[in-house]
Amino acid sequence: MRRVSAPNSTLTVPVKRMQQRIDQRANPTPVTRDALLAQVAIAPTAEGWTAWRARCPDVDGLSPTEFRLLPLVWHQLRAQGVIDSVYDGKLRGIHRKIWYQNRLRLNWAGRLVEQLHAAGFQVLFLKGLRLIQQFGWDPGTRPCADVDLWVRPSQYAVAKDFLLNQPGMQATGEVRAHACDLVFNSVHALDLHRLPHLLADPANHARGSTVGLPPGQAPESLFDAAWAQQDDPASGLTLSLLNAFIHDGPDRRTAISALVDWHRTGIAWASIAPTVEATSLRPAFLAQLDAHPEIVAQSPVLRAARTALAGRSMWSRAEQALAENIKTFEAIRAQGYPWSYHHWLWTLAGYTPWQRDLKSIRYGVDFTRKDPNIPLHSRAISIVRGTAYYTLHRRASEIARATINRRSADAARTK
């Protein structure tokens, strides 16, 4: 067996994270630590592992993405005889803990689904647990935060009441447009979906936008199609990717993990393309792939998907419009705006930049208003700053950009 090691550090976690941010600003690297570990997850090598360990000396201050990928990386490297000389025990422990949690979840969720079916509800597994079941993955290699179940939309309200009447089941108070969170005996977290993702309901779109829902379909018929395909692994993967790529922007952890999941399934683009095309989301998929060229380069499946998506001339009008909206999203993001993940979602939902600004201000107001721990004067300052940021700062940036572009054009003309 090969043993690899890296230098240790004794800094505390918050200091280490601050150090990482300072280092990144001073020495920006083209590949983030998350992406580096994702590359090792897709193409495990001792050299790749050593490179990541050199940037994470004591397996501490892990990002959520890194924590999510580590059990798979550890498992795959061990299969090749590569052992970390210092942290093998802890890495094995992460794998075992994830195995333990997922086996408990699968057992509990399986019984819950049987109970729901017996009561007449139609329910499908979504996301991580479905991938584990359908692809036969080692449950220790794919962390899942909770159990995701999608109930037939017309049965959702009654199913939710049915579950809340079960001993031990409680609502956490987190209610979103497409799902709500429940918890069982403070152990099992259940994400009960009415929709597979937010864009599956036209009510969550900007006026005139049809992205996310195939033409002529409604949430109920979407469930019908998924129910008919419940044994199709490609359907399970497609739903998982749609959820990840819609809800999280291209630089966020869920998207990186989703790319690794996709590679792991080995499912070709051709199997998921019809659904993605019908939902006008090809530009979003392309953006997610383009955000991580170093990860895509490691995977034949992802490379082939990227190549297939490059043919934009076949895109629909809705997709062309979405592509333009994504372009403005990325141009603005490149200027360093503190975009919350909502901005990506709002871009896909068809909202223009000024509409997203207004939503940001309202979101910020709601957020600060709901937290009783924030003093009133702090809330007021936060709201004023947010408003100024998303109005004055944006306008100033637009003027500056227009000025630079005009000067560049003038300079080009005079040459």
Partner: protein
């Protein structure tokens, strides 16, 4: 007595066999030569004949084997079987290393234990 496998979720990782008691969340880890005992029980061998066979194997330690079977019994995981127990040990393979096992039965503790910061060098579920 036979292992009550309906109550368990088991995974054989080669150098470790882990068992999860589905009703209680109790987590068992079996390592080293003791893996042979686990594998024999999972192949529907009787516990008494398994220990007799195992005590003839390299690195077997009688006390550890007896303690393991005793704990299984105390957890209600050994039952009188309806079917005739397996009698062939030819295909049961013991792993090298000192036989050892741990049983962790605090579900809340197991779930909450941070696998990076709260554990020792052996990792979860062994606390620092």
């Amino acid at each position: 007595m036979l292992l009550e496998q309906n109550k368990l979720d088991v995974e054989d990782f080669g150098d470790e066999v882990v068992m999860l008691e589905l009703e209680t969340g109790t987590y068992w880890s079996i390592k080293g030569a003791l893996i042979g005992v686990a594998r024999a029980l999972l192949a529907s061998h009787d516990s008494a004949t398994t220990l007799t066979w195992w005590n003839t194997q390299p690195e077997a330690e009688t006390e550890v084997g007896n303690a393991f079977v005793q704990q299984l019994s105390e957890h209600g995981l050994l039952v009188d079987g309806d079917q005739a127990p397996n009698t062939t040990f030819a295909e049961i393979h013991c792993e090298p290393g000192a036989p050892r096992f741990t049983v962790q039965d605090d579900l809340a503790d197991l779930v909450k234990l941070d696998p990076i910061h709260d554990v020792g060098i052996e990792g979860w579920p062994h606390k620092a």
